[in-house]
């Protein structure tokens, strides 16, 4: 089957020619992590159950992210690294799926382009009924239990409850953002351990 190329093919290929396997692996790993978190976030509002896509969702969006850059249908902009550009492509396609899923329920959404860095903390629609409220409260309680005893992580959750973002919480903790980022692994491990022990 012939693959059609887009208008950015030559420009993208010039950048792609300078890449090695390690560059691709890093970009794939970061884009994959982004897709997983974004899908989790979107699932809160009912869009993106695994069944509404043809293939496994992470594979689906990860594939789109590099295919669009390889075939030049999306421009790899000079200001972004490969991973940042791939994240933007994947994010845009995830948003389009959500739009399709929600358009049946609400009026046609006005399409306003927002950059991915502004979309990390998208406002979730308020919980629907009492059982949904209870379900989310139970999930937050489980996370609070998982981080209990670790002051930095407890502080992180408190910050999130107040709508604070990465730089704000790091500042309140009196640490740099890079140091704060190291808490990512710690909180994921804590939550994972708690899930395993509760099974």
């Amino acid at each position: 089957m012939i693959m059609e190329v887009g208008k950015y093919y030559n420009a993208n290929q010039r950048k792609i020619a300078a890449l090695n396997d390690a560059d691709w692996k890093v970009a794939l790993a970061k884009c994959k992590a982004h897709i997983k978190w974004r899908l989790k976030q979107r699932t809160l509002s009912g869009a993106h159950s695994a069944s509404n896509l043809g293939s496994e969702p992470v594979d689906h969006y990860l594939g789109i992210a590099y295919e669009k850059i390889l075939d030049g249908k999306w421009e790899w902009k000079d200001e972004y690294t490969l991973s940042q550009q791939m994240i933007r492509v994947a994010n845009s396609y995830i948003s389009k799926e959500v739009e399709k899923a929600t358009s049946a329920k609400v009026e046609a959404l006005q399409i306003i382009y927002k950059d991915v860095e502004e979309e990390f903390y998208d406002l979730a629609a308020p919980p629907g009924d009492d059982s949904e409220v209870k379900e989310f409260e139970t999930r937050i309680l489980a996370i609070e239990t998982a981080v209990a005893g670790d002051e930095e992580l407890e502080f992180m959750i408190e910050g999130l409850k107040e709508g604070k973002k990465r730089a704000d919480i790091a500042e309140l903790l009196g640490i740099g953002v890079r140091q704060f980022d190291k808490l990512r692994e710690k909180i994921m491990r804590r939550i994972q351990n708690q899930k395993s022990s509760s099974k």
């Binding site: 012939i2 190329v5 093919y9 994240i87 107040e162 990512r184």
Partner: protein, 134 residues
């Protein structure tokens, strides 16, 4: 500050994970992959290599077909006609290439894309014809 509802807090937690991931250091990500290889990523890397090779082959074929088509059009015009399109100084510079062009047989066609000088001549001639037609 007002406390957000539990659903928004969860959403913000996922947002924070995305923001941290976005700014992650590449060396750290690579070190993690070396320690714990990810088969899903390896599979996609393989697919990237396949797509890259396929697109490259496809583009080479397209460029080749375009060059052959250009040669056919130019040959139909005749060498003398083409020579008239360029000035004497250009002619002097391009005469060796004209000989190459005149002697071009279909057996040579496969080597056309390797011959940057000949492709350059084709480009010049094509532009001259286009200018002449305007």
């Amino acid at each position: 500050m007002a406390t957000l509802n539990a659903k928004q807090v969860l959403s913000n937690l996922y947002g924070l994970m995305m923001e941290m991931n976005y700014h992650r250091n590449d060396e750290e990500v690579l070190a993690e992959l070396e320690q714990t290889p990810d088969t899903q990523i390896e599979n996609h890397l393989l697919k990237i290599r396949q797509i890259t090779a396929k697109l490259k082959a496809q583009q080479n074929k397209y460029r080749f077909e375009k060059a052959i088509e250009q040669i056919r059009v130019l040959k139909e015009k005749g060498i003398e006609e083409l020579k008239r399109l360029i000035n004497p100084i250009e002619q002097e510079q391009l005469i060796p290439l004209f000989r190459k062009f005149e002697e071009l047989t279909s057996e040579d066609e496969a080597a056309i894309l390797e011959d940057q000088e000949l492709l350059h001549l084709l480009e010049i001639l094509k532009n001259k014809i286009d200018d002449n037609q305007e």
